[in-house]
């Protein structure tokens, strides 16, 4: 490895890999039991229906087998995980009130600066709980709700109960059941009819403790004709033992509304990232998932859209990068159940240094979804002969009047492309990074500018060690 590569690793480490000393109000013992679930519910002072829901979900979790069809999950040890770690007693609305060590963490990550500059609202989750939440006044006045999910349950029980677990029931899969049993934190967002939130809402998720399980639960309701962009970022320090992140995200996008959900996932390479994300799109609604997966040891994530209303549209854009020891399985799931629905999936993946990326997608067009259109495009770039790329799309069509196309290619960087750029005096590393940036450009250009810059910087960091 060149000096440059070492430097870039250090740079990356300094930015995300640090960790604060562990200091918590509550840190439950490792392992999962009825008692743990009851205690979480008791700490949170929840209504009894939620406690019952958690306990029922725990039973479902215990009865379901571990999925065996995707990434190798044999390394996940459910008994070696802290299911609940509470760093502070309540989320703060003023940055100065956030405990010093946590504030340091997010200061280092640049969250408060970002908030001042270009965000409508910010949430920051540290371990199991949201530690900070704020929403600019102008949006609050329009009736926008942006809270952590626990506060959402307490302050808006009616909306909460109506939508919670309506899109991802605990019986959906083993990890959704686990999340339903021990969920804590996450964002609760409600956008009233017709309100356009023109700048993004953001949440930042951070795992600090060792052997930590983070199970945030996000619920977004975009009411008729509204518009919202939600951005989340995730990081964790580097520990030698593994952590687990099993979130559930549910989005209800009503008639004519538009929701964009952007994720920049840069977990450290010892986090199992097993996430269930799903949205329902009603008539003429638009759902966009922009999903960038760079970190984690293993990711299994298939953002889903149920196109339930006439003319609804789904866009899924994803970038996956897998380096040494990583297996990133990112995909999509789209169900067309109404006429004239449209879906577009663009997936870009890069494997390097023995990493493995997989695209796994489901595309279903039900009988009656006349005039539906779908296009799926998966491109994979293999950076060396140690790496691997897989494509596992599944298309199921039960309607005649549809147009569906799927295309996938796997290749490496062309010698001619490199030669051309190097003849223009770029080093091989620079040329490679430039080509990779061009490769992911269709997705990156959809990110807010600050994130696009960050994304390009992250890719550059990853690429710098790739040659020489």
């Amino acid at each position: 490895m060149s000096n440059k590569a070492v430097d870039s690793d250090i740079d990356n480490y300094e930015r995300y890999g640090f960790h604060q000393p562990e200091k918590y109000l509550v840190k439950m013992d490792k392992g999962l039991s009825r008692r743990v679930v009851e205690e979480i519910s008791a700490y949170k002072n929840e209504p009894s229906w939620m406690r019952d829901f958690r306990l029922k979900s725990l039973d479902i979790f215990l009865s379901k087998p571990m999925p065996t069809w995707g990434a190798d999950l044999s390394g996940v040890d459910f008994d070696n995980i802290h299911y609940y770690v509470r760093p502070t007693d309540r989320p703060q609305h003023n940055w100065d009130d956030v405990p010093e060590d946590i504030k340091n963490t997010f200061d280092k990550l640049g969250i408060p600066e970002a908030e001042k500059k270009f965000l409508a609202g910010v949430g920051a989750q540290y371990e199991s709980e949201m530690v900070y939440h704020s929403l600019q006044k102008q949006w609050e006045e329009l009736g926008v709700i942006f809270l952590d999910t626990d506060t959402g349950l307490r302050d808006h029980p009616d909306i909460f109960r109506k939508y919670f677990a309506s899109i991802v029931p605990p019986s959906d899969n083993k990890l959704a059941a686990l999340n339903s049993a021990v969920w804590s934190g996450g964002s609760f967002i409600y956008i009233p009819p017709g309100v356009h939130v023109t700048i993004p809402l953001q949440a930042y998720f951070r795992i600090n403790a060792q052997n930590m399980g983070q199970f945030e639960r996000t619920l977004i309701i975009a009411d008729e004709g509204s518009n919202v962009h939600y951005v989340e970022g995730c990081t964790a320090p580097v520990y030698s033992s593994d952590s687990l992140h099993a979130a559930v995200v549910e989005c209800i996008v009503k008639k004519g509304a538009r929701m964009r959900y952007t994720t920049i996932q840069n977990w450290s390479r010892n986090v199992y990232n097993l996430v269930t994300k799903r949205a329902i799109a009603e008539d003429d609604a638009i759902v966009e998932w922009v999903d960038c997966n760079l970190g984690s040891k293993m990711t299994m994530k298939y953002p889903a859209v149920f196109l339930k209303g006439k003319g609804a549209r789904a866009d899924i854009l994803s970038v996956a990068y897998a380096g040494s020891g990583q297996h990133i399985e990112a995909g999509s799931k789209i169900i067309h159940s109404a006429p004239h629905t449209t879906s577009v999936v663009v997936s870009k993946s890069i494997s390097r240094g023995g990493g493995r990326t997989s695209y796994r997608g489901l595309l279903k067009i039900l009988n009656g979804a006349v005039g539906s259109k779908s296009s799926v495009r998966c491109d994979a770039l293999l950076m060396d002969e140690m790496s691997r790329s897989d494509t596992y799309p599944y298309m199921d069509v039960k309607e005649e009047k549809v147009t569906l196309g799927h295309e996938a290619t796997v290749s490496r960087i062309g010698d001619e492309q490199l030669f051309y750029l190097m003849s223009r005096a770029l080093s091989q590393a620079q040329a490679t990074a430039l080509i990779v940036q061009g490769f992911i450009e269709p997705v990156v250009k959809e990110l807010p500018m600050e994130y696009a810059l960050e994304m390009n910087r992250l890719i550059q960091l990853q690429m710098e060690g790739s040659v020489g």
Partner: protein
Amino acid sequence: MDSQIPALTSTPRTSALEIAQQTAIPDRKQEDWRHLDPQAFPWEEFEQAALQEYRQPCVDSQVESGVVLPTIDAAKLAQILAIREEDADSKFLYLHRALTSPIVAYRIPGNLRDGAIRIVQRISGPAAPTIVLYVESGADAIVYHRWESETSGATPMIGRIEIMLERGARLQFLHEDQLSAASPLYYRAHTQLAENAHLDWGVFTTGSVWHAAKMTIDLQGAGAESTTYGLFCGAGARTAEHRTVQNHACPRAKSDLVFKSLLAGKSHSVYQGMIRVEKAAQRTDAYQASRNLILSPTAHAETIPRLEILADDVRCSHGATVGTVDVNMLFYLMTRGLSRAQALAMAAEGFAEEVIRRVPLKDIAARWRSAVQQTIGNNLA
């Protein structure tokens, strides 16, 4: 595996049957069997047939060839027929082994050029026919093979096709199955290509109530090349599942595959494709396409084209499409005075033609063409 050869040649049918009986029916939870219910296959009927001390093979084979073809020696045959891997379909293979008859096995010698061999097998009961073609270096042959039902009732069968191409050998292989609608069919076709061997493989079927085929192309020698083109033309409640595997184990091999389904009535097509490129298989060029044309609101198309790529200096891609006839195309044809049904039929025939025009034997191309016309015509009228 070499160790399995003696086991296979000396295994009496009864012990193959025992293994078959001990092997579980494929589970619907297994990835390969999620789409077609393995329980619906007439296992019992085959087991009963295999228990009989003497039974008719239920296959009437007719072979037509311009030359007398030599047979394959026993050791080679055993090597080719060894059950190599245990997988989700093992029960079919052992049951086939227990019942197998006849084994039609030909060695195609290196001095045979431009020969066309035709093999037609008529099936009349639970049958387990086997076709083995061993193509020697230098040979260049065309082989056409068909399974058809003797009666209009159910003629269930498990078939096996094994093709081995020696270095530089060339084969154009055409396979057709047109069983009666009520006949369950499982077959496995396996091809092995040595260095610079060249295989051109055409497949045509009209499906049946239960139809599953696994087609494997093992590219084992550098520079080997295969082209595969398949067509399922389904109507009524006919169904067909095709699993294709393009296994690239060596450098500089090329494989190209297109599988088309033309779906009328309540027909159902499942296509599962896999391109697997091993680490050693640098400079692979592999392509796989699945095309589905739906002609009825009750037809059902499922397509699952997969890629698993472990080498980096490769060109691998796949494409899949599902849709109905383009309205602009229909409109154009109808402005020229065609009825809607005629226009649809013409578009459907055009879709099939992409496969049929590659058939090297004129009479077979005509046969496939008329089968398509009949299936489609009956459904659109």
